[in-house]
């Protein structure tokens, strides 16, 4: 057996700088793609988790006519006596937490500033509210029987110049279609790490929110978190009933699910483009090599080397280049992803639509799956692309190849 890799190694060594540069192109491409894959993965997972945790939950039970965009607290759009239903749902095995929430629109004013906000009435003890409770950075969280306390987000506190213990004026649209106004004391300031979310929402205890807005014993929804979100359809089917609607996270986040699915296709396209470019560099290197070694190929075929053996020789060179470049690139890509998965990449407030929430800081996540995928794809594309120069070399007629040298 001819040791093609030994030959290939020596041939690559003839033009060290050139081989190194094409290896480097491949390494940079691979590193970049690995980092992009990790970044996408981190971004998608973060936006999915953040959206589910802060915004939609896994399942919502709403009145059949409820429109989340209107934030109406008219009784006809609300669920009556939600606590009992919530307790029943929470008793289900698959359910981690089920809690009523009331949404109303309001305007906060303090000093000379006024800002429109979403008022969310919550049951403070529910574990579904952990992201807010754990996000308290000053003061404390609400208690269920607090009648004057309010919890606001850090960006809101900063723009209104409010501190814990400070007073603000809150205006609310009531269920009768009028407005009511009351002073509240800031009990706590929270941050979820998502500025876009934190700047537009304030929390009141559910009972106070109900009384203040005139919703009485009503809530906008029962917010449900599951132990495993894949169980959403099963649980939703189990709690289906007349007069209200049960929506799962896939229905509540159609856009996000779509973007998530699409991101894989998007990533594949980026992979193909970048790997196409790096493969071109490798093909170019091999082509130069084929033309330079025309005579040598002629000699080898003259002494009886066959076409497929010539192909093997050049594919061995491509494989060695690919192996070196991709290994180096993977290490760099992995190191970059590992570093940024610790410190995160700060993007700040990217704005929020109700459909998609992004944290201020994105933490790349490199999965073994995507790394292995990328490595195999990069290797295959490089070697397949190298078939062209390899076949070109194998098809040279020995006599022409020998002439080429003179």
């Amino acid at each position: 057996m001819i040791n093609y890799f030994k030959l290939a190694y020596r041939n690559l060594g003839r033009h060290r700088r050139r081989s190194l540069l094409s290896g480097l192109a491949l390494a940079m491409g691979t590193a970049l793609l690995m980092f992009i894959a990790a970044f996408f993965q981190g971004e998608m997972r973060s936006s999915m988790e953040t959206t589910l945790r802060l915004n939609t939950g896994h399942i919502q039970v709403q009145d059949a006519d409820y429109d989340p965009d209107k934030l109406s607290v008219a009784w006809e759009y609300l669920i009556e006596n939600p606590e009992q239903a919530a307790a029943q749902i929470e008793a289900l095995d698959q359910v981690q937490a089920a809690t009523p929430r009331l949404f109303a629109s309001g305007i906060i004013s303090a000093a000379d500033e006024s800002i429109g906000v979403q008022i969310m009435g919550i049951v403070p003890d529910s574990s579904a509210n952990a992201p807010y409770r754990d996000g308290i950075i000053a003061g404390e969280f609400l208690t269920a029987d607090d009648r004057e306390g309010i919890v606001i987000g850090l960006p809101l506190a900063e723009s209104l110049g409010l501190k814990v213990g400070g007073q603000l004026n809150l205006l609310v649209n009531t269920s009768e279609g009028s407005v009511d106004e009351q002073k509240f004391v800031v009990r706590g300031i929270f941050s979820t790490g998502t500025t876009a979310y934190d700047k537009g929402i304030v929390f009141l205890p559910l009972a106070k929110a109900q009384a203040f807005s005139g919703a009485q014993n009503h809530a906008s929804m029962i917010f449900i978190l599951l132990k495993d979100r894949e169980q959403a359809d099963a649980v939703a089917a189990a709690i289906q009933g007349s007069g209200y609607q049960v929506k799962t996270w896939t229905e509540l986040n159609e856009l996000l699910v779509l973007v998530n699915d699409f991101s894989n296709a998007y990533l594949s396209i980026i992979n193909l483009i970048i790997l196409g470019v790096t493969a071109t560099v490798v093909v170019n290197t091999l082509l130069m090599s084929v033309f330079e070694r025309t005579r040598e190929i002629g000699i080898l075929t003259a002494i009886g080397m066959k076409g497929r053996q010539v192909i093997s020789l050049f594919l061995a060179e491509a494989s060695l280049l690919a192996l070196g470049g991709i290994t180096a690139g993977s290490l760099i890509g992995w190191a970059l992803s590992a570093y940024y998965s610790k410190v995160g990449i700060y993007f700040g407030d990217l704005g929020m639509s109700s459909d998609m929430i992004l944290q201020d800081r994105i933490y790349p996540i490199l999965t073994l799956d995507s790394a292995v995928n990328l490595i195999i794809t990069a290797f295959l594309i490089t070697v397949l692309a190298s078939l062209y120069p390899a076949r070109l070399a194998s098809r040279m007629e020995p006599v022409e190849a020998l002439h080429g040298a003179k």
Binding site: R295, I299, M305, K306, E397, P398, V399, L402, K406
Partner: protein, 230 residues
């Protein structure tokens, strides 16, 4: 017994619209053990003839039979097989593979013929000894002189015990002393092993070793002189 028999062979090269008639109907038989020189001025067709005998090229018309096989009926791969088993080449530009050592260059045809490692080692050492290059076995071509490179090329041509060795201007790039040395080696191997040698040359140093001198002119055989073995 004949090693090569060419009957009414023509070879026309087409470059664009221009046709070059390199051979215009050549018939020649090369017998076993011959030490033959093809001579003639540049463009007389001697290199073309050599390439046809070597299965490196195909005739435009006519018949080429090498070792009993008609080469025009063989495909690329079969011709490669015929070359690697039957024919050895020595080229004027010491055609060694630059990344391989002298040893590895001689070993390459044996690898292509699928010989095992013990056989290869034995044969390579034998050949390096025959061309007096044992002490340079692990040098790369660029560390060898022209004469030394050509001796390695001769050793490589002989590696698989071919019936026929074709040499295109083997001394053209060598000084007198090295040229003589290479010719001496080839002559000795011809006598010892009975291998047939065919040269294309216009070097009188080569011609004087030949037992047969075939003179070509304008793609035709002009003279064919057999001389007693020297």
């Amino acid at each position: 017994m004949e090693v090569a028999k060419l009957t009414d062979v023509t070879r026309i090269y087409k470059i664009g619209e221009v046709e070059t008639h390199a051979l215009n109907g050549v018939s020649i038989t090369i017998g076993n053990g011959e030490f033959t020189s093809l001579v003639g001025p540049s463009g007389s067709g001697k290199t073309t003839l050599l390439q046809l005998i070597g299965c490196l090229d195909q005739p435009t018309s006519g018949k080429v039979v090498i070792d009993g096989r008609e080469t025009t009926r063989l495909n690329r791969s079969q011709r490669a097989d015929l070359r690697k088993g039957t024919i050895g080449f020595v080229f004027q530009f010491f055609a060694l593979i630059p990344t391989l050592t002298a040893y590895e260059n001689v070993e390459m045809p044996l690898l292509l013929n699928g010989r095992n490692s013990a056989e290869r080692k034995k044969r390579v050492m034998e050949l390096l000894e025959a061309v007096d290059m044992v002490n340079r076995a692990h040098h790369r071509p660029d560390q060898l002189s022209g004469g030394q490179q050509q001796r390695i090329a001769v050793a490589r041509a002989l590696a698989t015990d071919p019936k026929l060795i074709l040499a295109d201007e083997p001394t053209a790039n060598l000084d007198t002393e090295n040229g003589e040395q290479v010719m001496e080696i080839m002559k000795r191997l011809n006598k010892e092993t009975g291998t047939t040698f065919v040269f294309a040359t216009h070097d009188p140093r080569v011609i004087k070793y030949a037992t047969r001198v075939v003179t070509l002119h304008d793609g035709l055989i002009e003279k064919d002189n057999h001389s007693p073995a020297k």
